[in-house]
Amino acid sequence: MTTPPARVGPLCAARDPGGSPLRRLTRIEYARTMDDLVGAGLVDSSRLPPDERALGFANNAEVVSTGGLLVEAYTDLAEAAGDAVAAHAATYASCAATAPDAACAATFAASFGRRAWRRPLSADEQAALAAVYAGGEADGGFSEGIARVTAVLLSSPQFLYRLETGTSATTPTPAPAADLPDAVALTPSELATRLSYLLWGSMPDPALLDAADAGRLVAPADLAREARRMLADPRARTIVTTFHAQWLGIDQLADASKDQIVYPAFTAALSTALTRESARFVEEVVFNREGTLGALLSAPYTFGDLTLASFYGASPPAAGGDLIMLPAAQRAGLLTQGAFLAVYGKANQSDPIHRGRFVRERLFCTTPPSPPPNITVRPPDLNPRLTTRQRFAAHTGDPQCSGCHVLLDPIGFAFEHYDGIGHWRDMEGGQPVDSSGALSGTDVDSALDGVVTLAGDLARSTEVQICYATQWFRFAYGRGETTADACSISDLATAFVAAKGDVRELLVALTQTDAFRYRRAGDLLQ
C-alpha cells in the first residue's frame, strides 16, 4: 500500500473548474494547424497580427481582441488555403481524381470538415457546405466549389475558436461529476481539442479524433493514456520549448536592441544562436536527459557549436557532437544562459533589478511592489569608475526605495558577473565584481555568491516547483489562476512534486485537473 503524496500548493477546499474564457487559435497554433491540416508550408500565416500577451504568455484568452485587421487576414488566408486544397483536391478526397462532382464534394466536406472543426459535422452543417459548393461550382466548376468550401470551413468559428458547449450532436453527453454539481463535463471531441492544443499546439491527429468519436476519451485514465502517447510525438517538443521561451521571455530576444558601442558582439547571429541554444537545451533536458525542472535550472552543460562554447569560455564540444560542458564556477542552467541574461539586460548595462524581479515573479510567483506612482525613478547613469552595484546603492540608502528593493536587489546582484548580453566579467569599473547577495522570504533562503549557488537553491525549492506548475497552468489553460482554482493548482503541484519535478509528468497532470476536464455550468448560460 502506498501513501498518497503530501499535498502542496494552495489549500484545496472546494472543487471548481474555474472560468474558461473562449480561446482562439494563437498565431503559432494557427500556423501549425494549417501545416497539419492543409500541408506543411502551404499557407503562409506570418501576416497575422501578434497575439496579446499577459502574465508572460502570448495565449491569454481573457485579453484576446478582434478587429478588421485580424478578420481580413483570416479571410485572405482561408481563401489561399482553399486554392491550395483545390489545386490538389485528390490529396484530400480521392474521388476528386475520378469523379469530381457534388457527391465527391460532399465526401470532401465531411472528411476535411471533421479534421478542420475537430469533430464530425452535423447534417445541417453539411447541407450548408453543399450549398456553398453549388454556388462555387456554378461560378467556376468543381475546383472553385472545393476552394469555397475549404475557405468557409477555415473562416468559421468552429475552426478559429475552441468552442465548448459540453454537448454534441453525435456523441452522448458525459455525466457531470457528483462533487462538481455546477460543472459541465466536456465532450470527448472537446477534450481531444484541449489535449492536442495543450500538448502539440495543433489539431488532433486521426487517432485522437477516432478515440473521441468512439467515446474512448472520457475518463482521466483515457486522457493520461493519450497524453503519454502524444508526449512521445515530436510535436510535443515544440510546445515545451515554446512554454519556456515565453516564461523566460527568450522569444523576445530577436526584438531586443543593444547599444552597439557597448556591446559590438551582440549581432543578429549571436541573438539567433542564443535563442536556439536555449530551445535545444530545454528539449534535451526534458525529453532526452534528466527531464526535471531542477536540471533545467542547474544543469552544468548546454548545447551549441564552437562559437557558443567560446561565448561561455568553455571547451569546444567533442567532435561530431554539440554537448558543451560549462565552466562549473560560472554557469549552471537556464538563468546563466546568454538568451535569458540578454533579455533581462539593458541596452548598455546589466539589469540587477529586473533580474531579481524575474526570480520573484516568474520563479516564486510573488509580485513585488513597484515604485510608487509620481516619484522620479532615476536609474543611475553609466559611470566608468563605479560598479553597477555601487551605482544602485541609492536603493538601499533611500527609505522610499529600500522597502521593496530589499526583495529584488540582493537577488539581482548575484547576477553581476554577467553583463547586459550575458558575457562573464570579473571586473567592472576597474574593480572586481561582487556577486554576493541573499535569497530571503522563501523556502530556500540562503546567502548567495553568484548564480550557480542561486541555481542550486532554486532547483531544490518546493515553492519554485509550485510556481512552475502555476506558470504551466496559465500557459496550458490560457488564463490567470484565481482562488477558485486552488484545487486544480494543488493537484498539479502535488503531482509535480511527487514526480520529483519531472516536466513530462506535469504535462500529464495538466490533463487531469478539474480546470482541464470541466467547464462551469454558469459559463454556458445564454
Partner: protein
C-alpha cells in the same frame, strides 16, 4: 530615401490597370459608384488623423510663447514652423488615466478618456494588474460617423509597436476591444490596394468568391452563437461584426482625385522590421501610406503609433547618435543636461516627422482644388506629460488642419491644469461635426474646451 510614390501622374484607369501589378479595379468602381457620396458637391469630406509618440515631453522646451494668435514655436515644435498657420497647440491640460501604471493608463486613456478595466496585464505600479480601456477612442467614435463607405472604416498603422498589450494599444473600437496597428508597410499597402489580380474579370471572380464565403461564414457565426454562453457569444459577435464590415465594403475601392497618384508597393525594408535602426525608414513608409489612403479616399480615419508607451527606441540615426533607450532617458532628472539634450532632440525629431506628414497633406489637392489638410484634423499626443515623474499633467497636444473649416488654426491655446483632456476630445468631436456634450468617463469631462472652436 525609399519613397514609393514614383511619379505625379494623376491616377487614370490605364495607369491603374497597367502599373506594377497593383490593381485598383477602377472600372468596377465606376460602374457601381459613379461618384463617391462624401466627395460630392458641398465640399470635401472631413478626415481625422492621430499620431502618438511616447515617454512624455520636456514641457518648457515644448510650450510655445506668445498669445493665442501671435505665438512663437518652441524648440521642440520648431520643425512645424512651415505649418505654423495650420497648427492649434493646446497646452496645460491634464491627461486622464486610471488603473495599471502611469504609462499603461496614459496610453489607454489618451484617446479614450477612459480608465482601464481589471485584467491580467501586470502593471509596473502598486495599482496592480489591468486589462483594456473601458470605451472607444475618439477616432473610432469619429469613424462610426464618417467611416461609412470607404474601403476601410479606419486605418491603424504602427512603427515597431512590439508586444500586444495595453502599453501598446491606443485605438479602441469599443470597450475592451483594442485595434491592432499594422506595423508592416508592405502588408499595409497590400491591405489598401489589394492583390486581386490585374483584370476586372479577376476582380469580379474574387469578389464573388468572397461574398459567398462571407455569407456562409456569417451563417456559421449565427449558428454557433446560439449555442454558447453569454461571454463567449460577445467575443463571437465582435468577430461577426468585423466580417459584416468587410462585406459592406466589398465594392469600395480607391476614388480618383488629383491627389491620388499612381501608387506602387513600398520599398522593401532591409533586415528585420524590428531592427532598431529601421525605425525612421518604416515611419516614413507608413506616413506615405497613410497619406495615400486618405488622398485615395480608402479611409477617412487613420492613426500612426510610433513605438509604444515605455518606448525603448534608440535614436541612433540622429547626429550625434543617441544610443540610450528613450525610456531610460525619460527617467533622468531635470538637472541631467546630457539627457535633457537627448530628449530635446528626440522630441524635435518626432515633430519633424509630423511636419513631413502635414507637408504631404498640405501638398495634396482635393477635387475642388483645396488642400487635403484643410479638410483634415490631425492630433499629435503622448501618453505622459513629464516623463521622469510619470506625470500626465501638462500633457502635450498639437492639432493641425482646419477640419473642413470648423477649426480656426494658427493658434496657441493654454488651459489651467484642472481641465481634463477629455474636454479636448469633446471639442475634437464637435469640430468633426459630431455633437456630443461629453466623451469618455463622465467624471473626467466637463464639456468642450472653452474658446476652442
Amino acid at each position: 530615401m525609399s519613397h514609393f510614390l514614383r511619379d505625379d501622374r494623376v491616377m487614370s484607369r490605364r495607369t491603374l490597370l497597367r502599373g506594377t501589378g497593383v490593381a485598383l479595379a477602377l472600372p468596377l468602381l465606376e460602374a457601381m459608384h459613379p461618384r463617391r457620396a462624401g466627395a460630392a458637391a458641398g465640399g470635401a469630406a472631413k478626415r481625422f488623423v492621430s499620431m502618438f509618440t511616447a515617454n512624455g515631453t520636456l514641457y518648457p522646451q515644448w510650450v510655445p510663447t506668445g498669445t493665442e494668435t501671435d505665438f512663437k514655436l518652441s524648440p521642440i515644435l520648431a520643425p512645424l514652423e512651415p505649418n505654423h498657420a495650420d497648427l492649434v497647440v493646446v497646452a496645460g491640460l491634464t491627461q486622464q488615466g486610471g488603473g495599471g501604471d502611469g504609462h499603461q493608463n496614459g496610453m489607454s486613456g489618451m484617446l479614450t478618456g477612459q480608465s482601464l478595466n481589471p485584467g491580467p496585464f501586470q502593471g509596473g505600479a502598486n495599482t496592480g494588474a489591468a486589462g483594456w480601456a473601458n470605451g472607444p477612442s475618439v477616432d473610432q467614435k469619429i469613424a462610426s460617423v464618417i467611416g461609412g463607405s470607404t474601403k476601410l472604416r479606419s486605418l491603424e498603422l504602427g512603427v515597431q509597436v512590439g508586444v500586444a498589450d495595453d502599453w501598446g494599444r491606443m485605438i479602441y473600437q469599443s470597450a475592451n476591444q483594442p485595434l491592432t496597428p499594422e506595423d508592416n508597410p508592405a502588408q499595409a499597402f497590400a491591405r489598401l490596394f489589394g492583390a486581386s489580380g490585374s483584370s476586372p474579370e479577376a476582380f469580379t471572380r474574387a469578389r464573388a468568391r468572397r461574398k459567398s464565403v462571407l455569407d456562409a461564414v456569417s451563417g456559421q457565426f449565427q449558428a454557433v452563437s446560439a449555442r454558447v454562453g453569454a461571454r463567449d457569444r460577445a467575443r463571437l459577435d465582435e468577430h461577426a461584426t468585423a466580417l459584416r464590415d468587410i462585406e459592406t465594403r466589398l465594392d469600395a475601392q480607391a476614388s480618383p482625385s488629383p491627389a491620388c497618384i499612381s501608387p506602387s508597393a513600398p520599398a522593401a525594408v532591409a533586415g528585420h522590421l524590428s531592427d532598431n535602426d529601421n525605425f525612421p525608414t518604416i515611419g516614413r513608409l507608413q506616413m506615405d501610406i497613410l497619406a495615400l489612403a486618405l488622398t485615395c479616399d480608402l479611409t477617412r480615419v487613420a492613426s500612426l503609433q510610433w513605438s509604444r508607451s515605455v518606448s525603448l527606441t534608440r535614436f541612433t540615426w540622429l547626429t550625434p547618435a543617441i544610443n540610450d533607450p528613450h525610456h531610460d532617458l525619460s527617467h533622468r532628472g531635470d538637472d541631467d543636461a546630457p539627457a535633457q539634450d537627448k530628449l530635446l532632440r528626440i522630441n524635435t525629431w518626432y515633430a519633424s516627422q509630423l511636419a513631413y506628414l502635414l507637408g504631404k497633406l498640405a501638398a495634396a489637392q482635393e477635387s475642388d482644388g483645396s488642400r487635403f489638410l484643410d479638410s483634415t484634423l490631425v492630433l499629435w499626443s503622448n501618453e505622459l506629460g513629464k516623463g521622469n515623474a510619470h506625470s500626465r499633467e501638462l500633457a502635450p497636444y498639437v492639432l493641425a488642419g482646419k477640419a473642413g473649416g470648423a477649426l480656426r488654426s494658427g493658434r496657441f491655446l493654454s488651459y489651467p491644469r484642472e481641465v481634463p483632456h477629455n474636454n479636448l476630445l469633446v471639442s475634437i468631436l464637435q469640430a468633426m461635426d459630431i455633437p456630443v456634450a461629453k466623451f469618455g468617463r463622465e467624471d473626467w469631462c466637463t464639456g468642450p474646451l472653452t474658446g476652442f472652436i
